[in-house]
Amino acid sequence: MRLRAALAGLPALIGLAGWLLLPRILRPIPILSIKIDFGMLSLVSGLLLSAALLAAAAARRRSGLDIARERNLQADSRRRFLRRLDHELKNPLTGIRAALANLEGAGTAGAAPAVLRDIQHQVERLTRLTAGLRKLADLEVIPLEYGEVDLGALLQETVDAVRAHPSGSGRDLRLVVPSVPWPLPRIVGDRDLLSLAFFNLVENALKFTSQEDTVEVRAMEQARHVQVEIADTGPGIPAEDLPRVFEELYRGSNARGSEGSGLGLALVRRVVERHEGEVTVRSRRDGPRGTVFVVTLPVSIRIPQQPRTRQS
């Protein structure tokens, strides 16, 4: 790096030498009928060249630093992910080993059904985890099946599905979709994936709030975007957890021990990003407390060379 900076200074030095050594005379240039001080010319052009070389070297150095920083961040997040994965695998495996040891000791005694239920439970947990990991991996590569999506109908369907789910029974779950003076614009996207994302968000809101809390899903049009908010009156997310909630397998301090793959919000983020949209979260722990996830999706996106099909 230092050598390169020194080399960049070389044209300036040569220019300076030229200015000092060349006879200080103005030479006429025959065709242009102007006179040029060659000494000054060599100095100015040398300085300019050096400045350009230095700027280029600095830019290169900066982008090198950026790449290094980016690599570090990626390595960090990879380490965090592996650590969390290790943890997620260890717990059910420990449970299964304990159950198996118990089963061996118990022989054919009456403890067996309960132990088998425990094993079954842990196996289901591992199955959910691998299914989630596969979805995440798939989402990196699968082509989206684009079509026109009526978000209002999709949200109604999602809310109905959550209500029919055990986690949603008896809960105060509301949906607000504008219909006046015009309905939400249809957006272009993959209906099944969007439905998965909104289902995860609504289910997530119900999971981290109590029976008395309210969850409200509301959609609105914003310029060339549609914004969907999933808001709840729950205890809120601690400020230190907020930047991390979309990371794979991240579990906030209030989420320990809760069921679920720990991949739901990471999936949401990936689905939204593949639709060229954005998902953010804001949360308050006191005053009027609660959490709002905001999904912003463009009404139309560039479809990468796939036929556009119509879906209801």
């Binding site: 199955t127 691998t130 299914a131 596969r134 979805k135 991996a137 798939d138 590569v141 699968i142 099946e145 079509g147 369907e157 999602t158 599905a161 959550v162 789910h165 209906r191 099944d192 439905s195 998965l196 289902f199 289910e203 099909t309 879906q311 209801s312």
Partner: protein, 239 residues
């Protein structure tokens, strides 16, 4: 159906899978023979003449896909259920194309395997020609050209999303069989998620619109209330 007593060849390189699955299938009344790689599987097929093969895809020596190709290229219609590896989005569609009679994504519920085994054996006894290796499937006036990925109704090409087409393909290659929404999700989407059963209903509605099929009096796709769907029209395969 003369199913119990049918002979199943179970091929997987993981002993804990073959040991436990063979015991499970034997309890259901089948005779089970095991193999741990592709070459051994082909030798066993010649030696013991199984009625059905349950075949893992990822194996040393010769993988399950190569075994299936080898069988089909010899003109064998021996029913095969592929155990596909997770994480390969295109693999499911390929499994049907290459002539598997059915496929299951690992990790699967052994009871689901049993259900698949029963359905495939029943179908194999009913029709001499396997639909799974047919490239053109007809249920007049509906024709599905699997190579061209195109469906026509009375000669008119149907506009279908890729997923709806895969769904139609799965239904037509498993005619007269009750298929649950969960099974369709696993087989066609490869994903299972709580709101997903509605995704199935949406695609079925799309198919019905394209086919001009009424949900109340269906010609092709019948709803089995609370359970799933069934392709009820007779189906013929063309090799």
């Amino acid at each position: 159906m003369a199913q119990p007593g049918s002979k199943i060849l179970l091929v997987d390189d993981e002993p804990s899978i073959t040991d436990n699955l063979s015991a499970f299938l034997e309890r259901a009344g089948y005779t089970v023979v095991c193999a741990s790689d592709g070459r051994q599987a082909l030798r066993q097929i010649d030696a013991v003449h199984p009625d059905l093969v349950v075949l893992d895809v990822l194996m040393p020596e010769m993988d399950g896909r190569a075994v299936l190709r080898s069988l089909r290229s010899q003109g064998s219609h021996l029913p095969v259920i592929l155990l596909t590896q997770v994480g390969e989005a295109g693999e499911r569609a390929m499994a049907l194309e290459e002539g598997a009679d059915d496929y299951l994504n690992k990790p699967f519920d052994p009871r689901e395997l049993l259900a698949r085994v029963r359905a495939v054996l029943r179908r194999a006894q009913g029709s001499p020609v396997s639909l799974s290796s047919a490239w053109k499937i007809t249920s007049a006036p509906l024709v599905l050209d699997r190579r061209a990925r195109r469906a026509t109704l009375s000669g008119r090409v149907l506009t279908l999303t890729p997923k709806a087409l895969s769904l139609l393909e799965y239904l037509m290659t498993h005619p007269d069989e009750l298929i649950t929404r969960e099974r369709l999700l696993d087989a066609v989407w490869g994903w299972d998620y709580p709101a997903g059963t509605r995704a199935v209903d949406t695609r079925i509605a799309e198919l019905r619109r394209a086919l001009g099929d009424e949900a109340e009096e269906p010609q092709f796709i019948e709803t089995v209330t609370g359970e799933g769907y069934r392709f009820r029209a007779p189906v013929e395969g063309e090799q």
